[in-house]
């Protein structure tokens, strides 16, 4: 819904993502904020934002596979692991430059995704959930088998001769890639493939009758989603250079990623952003403050309260959103936007 007095007179205006001058200004301010962020925030917040960016790329991938195309993927973290270890091996063992390893990590994760997504033509719903669940456990088992459970060290990312050896430098790379990934995910919904994904999600038999090649588009959704996961994994590997281990990519991470698109609103790119940012903030900001209080209030609680409190909090948030507001934060944002545009009228 547009504010009163805003008319689109050309096709280009109608399709534009950024419509008005105010939005351009807000976008510029937002980008300036992201650029300036490491200079006024502490090292901790830069780290939180980097983690948010990496998570966001993986969640965008899941948003494409699950949110847009409706193919349930319970193994996103495992596909991230594939990307992380591909990138690690390519740069540290084979000595390839980071700029080669990054797309290779994405493609490798995409190919593994194709293998486990292939059953999606015959099966769906619960069955597909089981297949990707098996993928999660099998991939992590294979990674542990091949590279060991111990932490593996990875060289710093470098572009040309420029070595990204500090958190701040890595932050800029991650933010840039996150913006590109987000823009691509947003624009995907407006292409033929994106519309095909939505049709497959809403009713795959009807989509097939309309002439959509189910096998191709389901696999494409898996490939793109896992490609994103691979890119996120590669960034993870180079961001946490001295300790990547299989334990960082468990089923729990996969469930949290799914939870992020649920909290944000399934099927909405904005929702993926809102969900990821709010959950990561909850996890990194709220949990460290709340857990000492909990530990002080209930002294009989065991160790690891931070970890457990984070898990409980997040699980509760997901369940509450699913039962009370299944359309997620993106829906709230829509309501707010509509109401201020209509203000002071009710309808």
């Amino acid at each position: 819904m547009r504010p009163a007095g805003t008319y689109d007179t050309t096709y280009g205006q109608d399709m534009a993502t950024v419509r008005t001058k105010a939005q351009w200004i807000m976008l510029a301010l937002f980008l300036a904020f992201l650029l300036a962020f490491p200079h006024f925030s502490g090292i901790r917040w830069t780290g939180v934002f980097s983690l948010m960016g990496i998570t966001l790329i993986a969640v965008f991938g899941l948003h494409i596979t699950t949110g847009l195309c409706g193919q349930i993927n319970l193994g996103q973290a495992a596909f991230m692991a594939v990307g992380a270890y591909t990138s690690a091996v390519l740069t540290s063992k084979l000595g390839l430059p980071f700029l080669v390893a990054l797309p290779c990590a994405g493609i490798m994760a995409g190919i593994v995704g194709l293998i486990f997504g292939a059953p999606s033509l015959r099966i769906k719903g619960f069955y597909l959930a089981m297949s990707t669940l098996a993928a999660q456990f099998i991939i992590i088992w294979a990674v542990t088998k091949l590279f060991g459970a111990a932490a593996m060290s990875v060289p710093y990312a470098s572009i040309g001769g420029f070595v990204l050896d500090t958190d701040t430098k890595m932050y800029y790379l991650i933010i840039a890639l996150t913006l590109i990934a987000g823009l691509a995910a947003l624009n995907l919904t407006r292409t033929r493939a994106g519309r095909a994904f939505t049709a497959v999600r809403d009713n795959d038999l009807a989509a097939e009758v309309m002439g959509i090649n189910l096998f191709f588009y389901k696999l494409l959704a898996f490939f793109i989603g896992c490609f994103y996961a691979g890119i996120a994994g590669s960034l993870w590997a180079h961001c946490y250079s001295f300790s990547i281990q299989p334990l960082q990519f468990t089923l729990k991470e996969s469930v949290w990623y799914l939870g992020m698109i649920v909290v944000g609103g399934i099927g909405s790119t904005l929702g993926a952003v809102l969900g990821t940012v709010s959950i990561r903030l909850l996890d990194k900001v709220f949990a460290p403050y709340i857990s000492p209080l909990l530990a002080a209030a209930f002294p009989f609680l065991r160790a690891n309260v931070t970890y457990a409190a984070g898990a409980i909090l997040f699980a509760l948030v997901i369940i509450i959103f699913l039962t009370k507001q299944p359309r997620g934060l993106a829906h709230w944002w829509q309501i707010i936007k509509t109401s201020y545009r209509l203000w002071p009228y009710a309808h």
């Binding site: 349930i72 059953p119 409980i312 369940i319």
Partner: protein
């Protein structure tokens, strides 16, 4: 050697079947795949340990208490989580049950830490020898209880009003309602039943091994392949599938593990699950659904 593997496989398969039975029961009545089943199993076993060891209650009383709690928990979960999810896509149910599983795991970590504890022994330890084959009495008991429960449930589903009600609810909720069956009650009852089974299988499993948070994983990595192999809706499928998966796991552990290296037998049921998904997704006894637009 092979005979020993076979017998051990059948015995461990009985437990897997019992765990899967809880999943099948819920799926049969409400078409919900309860991915939190393993976590319930783990936390109910912890509760039993707490009653028996920390409060010093006799083991039979603590088991009864846990069974009572599991009934309440089943009713509560159905009322406050699953009922609001009716009519939402499958994805919502999957994520909600997984999140519930992690919620329970968080609670378990807070309350009991990451320890490994043993339940007090209520089944004698020494194995029974059948010729060259040894069977641990635990497994025999577990297997016997599993068989007994299967028979009771089969009779229940065939002859009681409640059981028939559950069957019709699983077939079509609208038809069930028009026949005068209270769908909500039926769903609540099946959840209570499923959690009682989770409690029994959790306590049996814990008495075989130990009580720890890792027990939650058998709900996902063992019971799901069993359920899928047997067919999602089939009770005796769960038993047959359990035995097949149990034998498969033990035989793979015995013959292939030395070649591939440790841990392969843990993921072997998942490989089996992938093969079933590709070849025959509706399992041995499941219903093959034909979809129309």
């Amino acid at each position: 050697m092979f005979l020993q593997f076979l017998v051990s496989g059948i015995m461990i398969g009985g437990i897997y079947g019992l765990v899967a039975l809880g999943l099948v029961l819920v799926y049969k009545s409400s078409r919900v795949l309860n991915l939190a089943h393993g976590s319930f199993l783990m936390i109910l076993a912890w509760l039993c340990w707490s009653f028996a060891e920390q409060l010093g209650l006799p083991i039979w009383l603590s088991i009864l208490l846990v069974l009572a709690i599991s009934v309440l928990a089943g009713l509560g979960v159905e009322r406050f989580m699953l009922r609001p999810l009716i009519g939402q896509p499958i994805l919502a149910v999957i994520i909600a049950t997984l999140a519930l599983g992690y919620l329970l795991e968080g609670v378990a970590i807070m309350a009991w830490g990451a320890d490994t504890k043993g339940l007090p022994e209520f089944i004698p330890r020494e194995p029974i020898w059948l010729g060259p084959v040894s069977i641990a009495q635990h497994y025999l008991w577990a297997f016997g209880i599993a068989i007994l429960l299967f028979v009771l449930l089969l009779l229940f589903f065939r002859y009681t009003k409640m059981g028939l009600g559950m069957q019709i609810v699983s077939e079509d909720q609208q038809v069930a309602r028009s026949l005068g069956i209270r769908v909500k009650n039926i769903l609540a009852q099946s959840w209570a039943f499923a959690l009682v089974i989770a409690a029994i299988s959790g306590i049996l499993f814990a008495s075989l091994n130990s009580v720890n948070n890792g027990n939650a994983l058998i709900g996902l990595t063992k019971a799901l392949p069993v359920m899928l192999l047997g067919g999602l809706e089939s009770l005796y499928g769960a038993l047959v599938g359990g035995i097949i998966v149990g034998i498969f796991e033990i035989v793979v552990g015995g013959y292939i593990d030395p070649w591939v290296g440790g841990g392969f037998s843990n993921v072997a049921p998942l490989f089996l699950m992938l093969v079933i998904l590709l070849v025959r997704p509706y399992g041995i006894f499941g219903w093959q659904r034909i979809e129309r637009i």
